[in-house]
Symmetry: D4
Subunit: 248 residues, 8 copies
């Protein structure tokens, strides 16, 4: 459903061609598709230039399949996060372009390969165990049309590794920094660059890391003032915001 369609319905209502009841009916039925358990909101893609996104966690193979099917009729890219190989098998039958990203636990269906970002988004992670979150960010960045670079396993206790890459860091237009445990990496990176840093705490760690709380608090209290934070393990959200910045 396009904006033109919306304007047309409104115009017909104003002119009296459509009664109030009819206008409401059309508006109600069009922009959403109500699958009973889920409302697919094609508006959002319209409004925000997003791919259509399904948060896969806690949805059955069946539910995900039905949503993908409804989305697939439109020409948007599709991204399914927090998903499994079982979901993928079924999606593959609906959409042949579907790809599974194992470490990221994500499925993408890419129809539109336009590069929309003006520069490069860089993803940095502190440890090997942070990879699933970093990869979720990477996959999201790509499906949203960004050029990306990444460097993994560069914790603050081994600074030289990071300092080595300083030039590369300075070329990025936005950075996503993924870290668990003490979550100190975004502060250090923030001090090295002059662009926005999006910090993603991860649930990696044990004991007093409290499943990512230590990292989250560390990032919220960053002494680098170019750092903002998203939820624990939310690689997807970080990538959405980075994409929006990169398009500006």
């Amino acid at each position: 459903m396009t904006e033109e369609q919306l304007r047309k319905i409104l115009g017909q209502y104003k002119s009296g061609t459509l009664s109030e009841a009819e206008a409401l009916e059309r508006l109600r039925s069009l922009p959403f598709e109500d699958l009973g358990f889920a409302n697919i909101d094609h508006h959002r893609s319209l409004r925000q230039g997003y791919p259509e996104v399904i948060f896969g966690a806690g949805k059955t193979v069946d539910q995900v399949a039905k949503i993908v099917e409804a989305m697939y009729r439109h020409d948007h890219n599709i991204l399914v996060t927090r998903t499994t190989p079982e979901h993928f098998q079924r999606i593959k039958q609906i959409a042949r372009e579907a790809e599974y990203h194992e470490i990221a636990r994500a499925v993408t269906v890419a129809k539109d390969h336009t590069v929309r970002g003006k520069g490069t988004v860089m993803v940095i992670s502190a440890g090997t165990s942070d990879m699933p979150v970093a990869e979720e960010a990477l996959v999201t960045l790509k499906i949203m049309g960004n050029n990306v670079e990444y460097v993994y396993d560069v914790g603050v206790a081994g600074l030289h590794r990071l300092l080595d890459r300083r030039d590369q860091l300075n070329r990025a237009r936005v950075l996503i920094v993924v870290a668990g445990m003490e979550g100190a990496l975004p502060s250090v990176v923030g001090g090295l660059v002059s662009v926005p840093v999006i910090a993603v705490p991860t649930s990696v760690g044990y004991g007093a890391s409290f499943n990512g709380v230590a990292a989250l608090l560390g990032m919220l209290n960053s002494c680098a003032s170019n750092v903002t934070v998203v939820n624990i393990d939310n690689g997807f959200g970080a990538a959405v915001v980075a994409s929006l910045i990169n398009r500006q």
Copy 2:
């Protein structure tokens, strides 16, 4: 100290005009000014295009005065946050351009009025009591060279007020949304716009608001994926990131 100076020292070292010891000495002495209790880092302004910033809370009038004095010799703008009228009186004696922003509890010394942002940054707050934080953001945005707009006291329980401003929201290049209590406003705003939203939880509320924790958690769990979060009451940080985005 300019980048040219830095390059010159490095060149002289390479060519042998400066010994290693001399080069180190110059580099060490130049970029910082060590006031004993504080290291002013003129590099940061160089590197990041920031004004020089002093976090005033917990610093004596004397300490702040000495830091301002050292900064004032350079041509950067100066911003003192979390400060008091007493601090201001003293700063005024050093820098005649100094202005006091009462609600924001901030002092600015503006030498450079260049507009650096490409568009408008909008600041939205949920309630009257959130004003000190919203104003800290506004003051910071201005001293960093942004055009700003704002709308205050538009909580989610009175949506019509916000929906009324929809066009205005959609013209902004970045939005800062300030809210205490349940912190729901960024999610609602995030759903209405297609640009980054920086959410600032405030310590406004009582009982189970836990001095801003409820708002902070609400924002971290936002169902709008274009939202990132900064520390409770951190209007300054939100404005820095918004400025960086607005320059891109």
Copy 3:
């Protein structure tokens, strides 16, 4: 056991027909049935017009069966919450009218279909994953004699969907709003209606949602003053209170 029976015993005691010991014995044995591990309190149904309710979680098939059996001799409706298909199989053998509500994880035995509510109770949920809690509320509302309506998957980041239903919202006599993550929906709904809103936080979310704590705090701090809150995932409790309000 009816109130008449109670009055009779008391009368006989006053008049001396029953000794104190006998009176106590009768009173003690009648209103409860002591199954050893559980005291069935038929009084409560008497006093409060409730169905008899069993909280199924952590009870064996055997325990639930014995309690249902004891209840089934009376003419009250029966509701078993947090239960499983295994429990249902066994209950079915005792009470042929038993029905299993899969998503709600509930069993009902409906003997009395009287509509006791004066108006409609509406159940609204923010996301697909909140359905088990929303359905528990729905099932409870029905067994307690209410007319119900519902709308699912209308999060605050997509307000238009909710605003579309405004008339429907305004027809309800009470609303139950179910949401996880940031739990902002009750505030928004509360601002749109003039009747009580009962907010149910759910454990849906990840990271800093802390299994429903973020939603719970959001709801307790709601800026809409017609909102009260029940425990995380407590669809049952919300429905009981909504029923009581709807009967008045």
Copy 4:
């Protein structure tokens, strides 16, 4: 502004008497009054039959005075909560009917004394120190047109006092139960009555009461299923919901 006025503007727009711009202008200017730091929303009183309410905490005498002045031109009752004698002195100059309720820390301006509630609302508190919260509820109930009864200082460790009042409890249409410390009173009261109980945890206590958290958690986990909960010390909110129920 009445609903008639709203309907009129909409009708004129439909018929063409008003252009879109004019219609928007009127709608925008009328329902709110923008005092710069606050938006008074006369709509809310229209929509919800509330008095106009000001949350006084953290507002200056001047700010409160300006808001009261703007409200006083309309015929609604006014309630200022969390206020001080200083606020009252100033309000008194604007509105002669103003009364100060010392223990409740509230000011009321009552123009409309209609009884709107169908029955009695009862307020029960566990201890003497809970009185400010209980009184805030009482004052709010009265200004919203309810008949009220109350009983104070009836903690669960002295049950006989409460059991003595059983008949009185059973006559109420809604009950507000205010308690700090372990917050057990709503569960006990909930078991004695068949109507909704609104539980208000208070910050009364010390040590592991954590300023009302213990009471809040106790109430959220109540084994009585007719209990809902509001924020710590939120006597006002409890009274609003109780009023809405009592009007039905």
Copy 5:
């Protein structure tokens, strides 16, 4: 090892019959038995009149068996808490008197059946799901030589059931009150009796019960001043203290 043996060794050291090294050696080897992974401290039974106790959780069948074997050579009663049928099978082979208490998840080996308590200890639980903890208390009370009574499933929302038993409560010399959820029962019981009440919070509940934290806080903040508290689910500890009181 008896106190006499200890005195003898000390006497021999004083008189010079034993060298310091020899004395140390004897003292070190006797009172403990070091199984490598565990030190059995027969002293404790001597000193405190306890049975020998093994906390079974997290110990292998083998480890428990070795400890029981070492203990069994002495004439003390043995209690294994938090154990499993597998542990029991193996213990049975070592000690024929061993009994398994399924609900309590405990094994006892009773050699000494002396009644040591002067009166009755009563165990009261709020709900059916609290039974494992209540039974752990009961089993411990019996192996420590107490006469016990119990009443289960008497939550505060159904007070009449508890009030019915008032005489029985008043006959007890100590009471153990076990409750999850809001943990209000000890306050109510505490108000009805004049003897010490030991409150045991359980991890029963969901959502904001936080695995027993709500109950724990409720009990610590009890308005009844004859209540003390033990750790969540610690039926054993409550029974030990109750036994000590009952012996006095």
Copy 6:
């Protein structure tokens, strides 16, 4: 009001001398005195052999005076906890026997000096700063008729001081152990004695002591099984339970 009076009223009702209404009236008016803001419950002293107790915190001089006045007409001992010199001055005018206990912040009015405890209660504190809590316990123990001993400032990092007193510890019938910071003292004391230990965490400490939470958790997790716990800083509660144990 004595038990005899109660029995008389009940007898007259049974025999018909008193109508139900008259009986209720007498019962209602006698056992309580309703001062408006407080219900004095003389029953409690009757039932439990307690002194009459006023929790002074947050009560005005006037309120406390009125309650003391009402209590003073009876022959019970009176204890006012958490009080101030101002309260004392006023109480002194009502009750000449009143004494102020400065460190304990308590006032006592002792009319009855009977020793009711069978043995000695010992109070032990870990540090000098724990004294207010330890003294509150001591004052309460004395007014409840116990012989007491105490030893202060014997932290676990200087064990020899405690071990020196071992004989003294072993003579006590109950021990109250007061400690802030890590709260380890009750575990150590618990291992040295064979009687009940009541642990009182204090809010003494800084940083991660979280106003007594560290001590509270330490005590709840004590590896000594003869330890029970009361609320942070609750010296009064510990003393009440110790008194009850000491009377048995």
Copy 7:
């Protein structure tokens, strides 16, 4: 890669034999080995005299194998913590010297058996269940070249066992004290010795131990001032610091 190699590259760059690009290339490729998912930092061993360490938790058998393989080419000792028998089987194929330490869940590959510590490090644990953490410390201490002693299962409720070993404690140069539950042991040990005590809280316990939080807080608030603390269950970290102290 040795320091000599580093110096050589720098010298060649200074003299012009290597261009900047070449120098960077060599430096970048040498000190790290980038396995894609992990950067092995041979520098760290160089710089700090550590064995090469792999944190095994959450790494696949394959990932661990590849890292060990890369490390094994150098002459450092290797330590794999938080690992499994499956990991060990595979490591064994790469490094025949590999040993599995079952309780410690660690694999070591020891090539260098030099004793580097000047004295003895002692490991003390409070309970049998703390063994995995204590053993992780022991294994780490040994692979880092320390002489070690240990004593297990000496909780503070049985002090005599610990006091018995006083001489042994006083011979240690550093002590590691491992405890769960109330975590009081380090305070007691700290009071008995004059050397640094490294406290390791463990997640052993239940209920209000909150998986080691109670022990952690207890240790942070230790009244013994020679105590420092590491993360919950971090036997490895404690051993590293103890080794560094023991080498001085």
Copy 8:
């Protein structure tokens, strides 16, 4: 009291010159001085080579004076932490050598100026506001006989400042790193040195720093394995441990 005195008493007891009772009496009276509210433990200084230390917080001028007086008779150094100018004035009258350290809020009385540390201890702080804690560490280090160096205000967002000092860092034998907010500095420093790092979280920060909790968690989860942690703001404790390490 010296060790010689202790040995003499023990020898006399062995030989029979002293009876047991006499020996006990002497031992008991000597090592402590019981001031009623405090036990001065001269043993500790003997045993551990510490100065005598008084934690001043919450002690009156009078109490501190009496303790200093008792200590001053011996030849140990004295340190009073968390103290005020008022305390100092009074101490000065007792001990003329007393010095007040304003920023550290400490008083020292230095009689013994022996350097006991083998190397240098370095104190590093992240921000100006951390100075009180850093200075408390410095004062303690000096009174315990260490050579010290320090560098302040070197946060991780300005790494170059720290890297500049790398040589200096590498010369230290132990480092104390003091930081508030995100507490990341110890991890970075830990990665740069090969000796123990003692991390001190401070309560500096606002919002989600939770008075030092964010910094504390960050440090406990440090990815540098040579880091141990002390309580929030505990500069004193860090210095004690650093001194002990530096003496080895």
